[in-house]
């Protein structure tokens, strides 16, 4: 059986998926030596819950796609080992959930499926190192220039600077990287120098370097903040930036210090896409 998780359910109240998240969390705690985390109290009980999340791998159970528990974990910088979203599990198992808060046959069946899944030993993941396991989804617009394809994410959570760097902001944290324009322009990237962990980065400050056979460029951070995670894989495999500068070749994650002010100097997809197209055309 599953045991020794710290469990953070969204504990949702206005949808049955939230009720299921709560029930699963409580069942896991009742039958095993797991610790439950109150999602809202966790925001102010730093010492108590960080102690628990340091001791046990953290299991997040979100009810719906709003993913409140994930957001709260990110906000608090908890290490996440495993995540479950009830509505996704329902979809995957072709179970339609009720619109009421009362759990019926389908809801109980789904709970059993999820509990069984968690009880399977291989489903228990090891804790990650410092990574708040947030899912970043990219929704792209593309621009073709000759044989070169430029993809630019158009998610509203993604902000750009005119130095062709992006910041995907969720809560008080941002994942940053370069756009396709940079990797296409540099050609084969050979070296990646990451920023220092815990470094305090100013907006438009340097947040690492990348070098190709053509040139070396400083990465200009769109946002200010503290470096809390680095994409170490790029040190060995900088070519991932060429392969996909968004999902694979992202640079680092920063804990934001003043995003509201930073935002004034950033642009959204629409503006950046036009700027990038002009830059590409200017390369001819």
């Amino acid at each position: 059986m599953i045991e020794n998780y710290a469990i953070l359910p969204c504990n949702g109240l206005d949808k049955c998926a939230g009720v299921i998240s709560r029930e699963i969390g409580l069942k896991l705690c009742k039958n095993n030596h797991n610790e439950i985390i109150c999602p809202v109290f966790a925001r102010i009980a730093d010492v108590k819950y960080h102690k628990i999340t340091d001791q046990y791998p953290l299991l997040i159970i979100d009810g719906c796609a709003t993913r409140c528990a994930s957001k709260l974990a990110l906000e608090k910088g908890f290490k996440v080992s495993k995540k479950i979203t009830v509505t996704e599990e329902a979809k995957n198992n072709h179970l339609e959930l009720t619109n009421t808060l009362k759990l019926g046959e389908n809801e109980n069946a789904l709970m059993d499926i999820i509990l069984n899944k968690l009880a399977t030993p291989e489903e228990k993941a090891a804790p990650t190192s410092g990574q708040a396991n947030v899912e970043y989804h990219f929704d792209y617009e593309t621009f073709q220039n000759g044989k070169f394809l430029f993809r630019v994410p158009k998610n509203p959570e993604i902000y750009y600077n005119e130095n062709d760097c992006w910041a995907y902001v969720i809560g008080n944290r941002a994942r940053i990287g370069v756009t396709d324009f940079v990797q296409q322009n540099l050609s084969d990237i050979l070296y990646f120098t990451p920023p220092d962990m815990d470094a305090e980065i100013e907006q438009f400050g340097e947040v690492g370097e990348i070098e190709s056979s053509k040139m070396l460029i400083d990465l200009i951070s769109p946002v200010s903040g503290k470096v809390v995670l680095i994409n170490d894989t790029l040190i060995e495999k900088p070519e991932l930036i060429n392969k996909n500068p968004y999902e694979l070749g992202w640079i680092a994650e920063l804990e934001l210090t003043d995003f509201e002010s930073d935002k004034e100097f950033l642009i959204g997809f629409d503006k950046y896409f036009e700027i990038m197209k002009k830059k590409v055309e200017g390369l001819k």
Partner: protein, 130 residues
Amino acid sequence: MNNKVKVIPCSGIGKVYGLMAREAALKTVLELCPEKAETICLARIVTGDKEVTDKIEGCDCITVDGCPQMCASKNVSIAGGRVIKEIKVLETVKEHKGKKFGSATQLEDSGEIVVSEIAGKIANIINQNN
């Protein structure tokens, strides 16, 4: 936006008083005052979900807190809700000294009684408010 009073319990989980706060809120909105009251998920409020913060901004809210941290009351106020009554589960619990109320997952009879009392208090406030 509707005019229903928002009854918002804390997200208390893992302790019986949190369960009592939740059950009292649900009893109110589902059984006692379904036409006049509704509940909203506190986690969505604190994560700044616009759909729910728009719902509570400037609206009459009754918060139900299971512990002295008063997470529901504080966060609803921060989000712009007008808290017309702060319900503290422990105040009603004190009136039932020596009773066993149950666990974090299951209420005993005394726990159910306290929940009904709290829900009754909330329903009275809602009915007087309308």
